[in-house]
Symmetry: C2
Subunit: 366 residues, 2 copies
Amino acid sequence: MHFRCEKKDLVEGISTVQKAIQGKSTMQVLEGIYIETTSEGLILRGTDIDLSIETKVPATVVEDGTIVIDSKLFGEIVRKLPNSEVDVLTTENNTITVTCENSVFNLLFLNADDFPDLPEIGRESGVEIRESLLKNLITATNFAVALDEARPILMGVLFEVKNSVLNMVALDGYRLALRTENLDSVDDFSVVIPGKTLNEVNKILSDSTENVSISFNDNHIMFRIKDTKIVSRLLSGDFIKYESILPSDYRLSFTTSKAVLHDSIERASLMSKDGTSNLIKMNIDGGRMVITSNSQFGKVREELSITSKGEPIEIAFNSRYLIDVLKVIEEDEIMFEMTSSVSPCIIKNRIKDNCKYLVLPVRIAR
Amino acid sequence: MHFRCEKKDLVEGISTVQKAIQGKSTMQVLEGIYIETTSEGLILRGTDIDLSIETKVPATVVEDGTIVIDSKLFGEIVRKLPNSEVDVLTTENNTITVTCENSVFNLLFLNADDFPDLPEIGRESGVEIRESLLKNLITATNFAVALDEARPILMGVLFEVKNSVLNMVALDGYRLALRTENLDSVDDFSVVIPGKTLNEVNKILSDSTENVSISFNDNHIMFRIKDTKIVSRLLSGDFIKYESILPSDYRLSFTTSKAVLHDSIERASLMSKDGTSNLIKMNIDGGRMVITSNSQFGKVREELSITSKGEPIEIAFNSRYLIDVLKVIEEDEIMFEMTSSVSPCIIKNRIKDNCKYLVLPVRIAR
């Protein structure tokens, strides 16, 4: 194998496929980057079996070939090369010679035959979404996936289309995030995508208005972002019937400034950091919300103006769950809906009806 | 006690004195910030006994008093307050009430009687140095102090004036850093300042041209930077006679570009990272330097143009020691002086004779 390419293109390709590569693997080949020459340049691929990322790098190919090269070492070397043309040539003894200006590296490579193929998806079902919108949808929901493995299906985000409406839903037993978006004439489907996959997809997505093409079969999903393919296994099993969890009614609703509420809760939570509960209390009555929290070190009281409708309520939350929602919800003015101090609370945009966040309150002794 | 001050002034004061406060201490009072009202505002102080930092914060004092308040919690709270006036008032049960706009915190405080006083320095000896110059002097030397406690005196930087020349010297048994500066008519003196102290002093120094006043007695040194006093204990004992370590002659000298050499060594050291020696070899012959390194994963060869005078040499180094020097040395063109593969190597500016770095080579089998 022999090719030449620009250092910056190679760095970009390596950074992309490294997102699928775990630091250490029991299979040495999985710690490597697969490099294949094609008529158009290079194909780079990284995988941890569950998640595979493949991308293209423009290159002048002198002689065809495929190798697998240690991802960490090769990545560090290429990043530190001068901004110039890089020449990569396989020589005897499973060695590649990497030359760039006055730097010459000789590195051992691994046999590419053992490297896993990219899972085949076919094109059974699919949908196209603008890159920037997909980024927004993932950010709005993925934070709420379960992190513990007690119920593996909850470690993923439900990605379903019903009557041309896309619903993305994540929940972990304490809170739920739902984001919806109208799509043009797409057939109904429903898959559950691992949260870890969406994290990596999100890092690769830009704010571009180009379309990402998403296709899947029973076991795998593929995101195609420009020259990059991300293939991940899907989670198997049925997702929770989330519609039945969302309350249909409420007895108190109020609107408030997202930024003011965020800062007040951040301050109040300083007093509840020591425990694991991050407990803060909210007292809502008419146009006023009072947030309090206390610990062995002292106490705090925050007062906010709100616009409310309904009965007064005293309710307690894990402040972290509220902060998580306030960080991703889009509008500056947001709306809360509550029924009692033990019923789920709903948070949504004041105007645009494209998301719903549910947070369970914490029961408090009176 | 009752005072009012601007949040940003209070944050600045807290950040300054926190540099002397360790996270956890066996004495609870040392985890706190001492606050005292004066006719001009507030005095804030933090200490870990070895190092104390005191600064002033402009404030309107309504009622005099002194308290000690938990540094971490108080710091976090004040940083998160709105950018507005902060009102601090002591109330019953050893509590302070911190009010800012619609936020009210009640925090326990500690009795200030147990808080250590700032050590008295008097003004036995002293010197004045421009802030930006002192910053430069510390950066140029402090990296070379010993980190292990085998010889405590080497954990500090020698700070001596001889015939109106200031010498700052640090060494750790493998390398030495010497930076000199002409001062106007200052009496001779010699003290050893803990490296840890200089680290914190460096963080507080700005690039201003104002003078820092430095004064000391047998046990302590005080840096006065605008409204801030930093007092540290000095290390006791005699410093190494460093002049006898510096070679007076050499058999090969060469000049090279600092940036090109830095990048070449950085790349070469990628191949030697696995061991603890970070071993790289240099082969210097005429106008050419070849740097090589190899490990189980492969090898690297870097070639540089240099301007040399003297006999060819093959010599090996711990790359980290060279990189440390290249990061702080001032000029873009630098000069090396070598005698043999087992003799100390000297690195200095090509033109300005105000620093000398010594690095011991690593003996290699041939």
